[in-house]
């Protein structure tokens, strides 16, 4: 796919500031990781010292930041070719790839070591696996080779609730894996909806995203298929002793909306035409034909946030679950 040597990154534009190094950690992604990990930690209902709980969340945040820096160090060449990513510190020439790599390795090692020493070895092992999966399996192996890149690689983004659960309890029960399954099944429709109207960038960079390789129509059908699986799996925690009545209402309503938006997208022509974005800096500014894809992308973020917020709220308020295998 992409020839790394053939892609030029901007020469050093100006001295990097501390903000550039913070940007390497992908703070917005980090905030979602922290949120899902915190939910897993609280849902475990295990006695853990609040200070140690905060340290566990800090380790997960730093580990996520480290893996993001490793990703940016490796992907500088293709990031430089895509409008969405060309302003990042490495492709913009503000931070050298070697410096991003050093930062990523350092943060990854420190986060895993501290997790192991302060919390427990299961959480440390899962955190190490998450970082390695994102940095090596997804970034190096899958991203440039297969349209299933974000399907398989999505496991890295799905594991943080399990890491949080393991940090609190030292165990990884089925309910923790159910949270992983929700994020795992959510990832393909989320990213494919986005890639439907950014596929020109991916094609230019040689990244074999589903709309680039299989076409927009096949991608729209696959998004609907994943939505049909995700909606019932999203409701499942209400029947496994994890979620309560509020969670059931949010998951059922959100899941129905998710499927409705995916069905509308499947019947649309989103992704069929070129040049569907109308503004470089605004990820949500698209032409009317791509509105169904943009709408599903935007709603998918809200849906995942609401699911985990409902679980977190119920557990913090000590509301009873509906019952199940817990």
């Amino acid at each position: 796919m992409t020839d790394r040597a053939a892609c030029a990154i901007e020469p050093m534009a100006r001295a990097a500031t501390w903000r550039d190094y913070v940007a390497l950690l992908k703070p917005r992604v980090m905030s979602l990781v922290v949120f899902t990990a915190l939910t897993g930690l609280v849902c475990a209902r295990a006695p853990i010292n609040p200070i140690l709980a905060a340290v566990a969340v800090l380790c997960i945040a730093v580990g996520a930041g480290g893996s993001a820096a490793l990703n940016m160090a490796y992907d500088g060449d293709i990031d430089a070719m895509m409008r969405r990513t060309r302003g990042r510190p490495v492709p913009a020439g503000r931070v050298r790839a070697a410096d991003a790599l050093a930062l990523g390795v350092t943060l990854s090692l420190f986060s895993v070591a501290l997790m192991g020493l302060a919390i427990n070895s299961l959480a440390a092992a899962l955190l190490a696996a998450t970082i390695a999966f994102y940095a090596v399996v997804y970034t190096v192996w899958l991203k440039r080779r297969t349209p299933q890149n974000i399907v398989i690689g999505g496991l890295a983004g799905a594991l943080p609730p399990l890491v949080g659960w393991a940090a609190a309890s030292g165990t990884a029960p089925l309910n923790a894996w159910l949270l992983v399954a929700i994020v795992f099944l959510w990832t393909p429709p989320h990213f494919w909806a986005l890639s439907l109207y950014t596929r020109e960038d991916y094609a230019k960079a040689g990244v074999p995203m589903m709309p680039v390789v299989r076409g927009a129509a096949a991608t729209r059908r696959q998004i609907l298929a994943y939505a049909l699986i995700l909606a019932p799996v999203g409701v499942a925690p209400a029947f496994t002793g994890l979620g309560g009545a509020a969670y059931l209402a949010v998951a059922a309503g959100g899941g129905a909306m998710f499927v409705a938006l995916a069905a509308r997208l499947a019947m649309s022509r989103a992704g069929d035409l070129a040049g569907e974005r109308t503004a470089d800096g605004d990820l949500y500014a698209v032409k009317a034909a791509s509105a169904p894809a943009r709408n599903l992308f935007a709603f998918s973020i809200l849906y995942l946030f609401l699911l985990f917020a409902a679980l977190l709220g119920e557990h913090l308020l000590n509301l009873p679950p509906l019952g199940g295998w817990r």
């Binding site: 100006r14 001295a15 990097a16 500031t17 501390w18 190094y21 913070v22 010292n49 200070i51 140690l52 340290v55 800090l58 420190f110 501290l114 020493l117 302060a118």
Partner: protein, 49 residues
């Protein structure tokens, strides 16, 4: 490594900002390890880690 004397003002300011961030991060790490040690010792007695 660039010669600090030949650095222009923005570059020197950027370097100083990076150094401060690094110092704060290292300081925070030391504080976290210290607090974790105290919590562990108080919870587990002499076994510690």
């Amino acid at each position: 490594m660039s010669d600090p004397k030949s650095e222009d003002q923005p570059a020197a300011r950027a370097r100083r900002g990076r150094n401060i961030l690094l110092a704060l991060a290292l300081g925070a790490f030391v504080v976290v390890v210290f607090i974790v040690t105290l919590v562990k010792l108080s919870a587990n007695g002499p076994q510690g880690f």
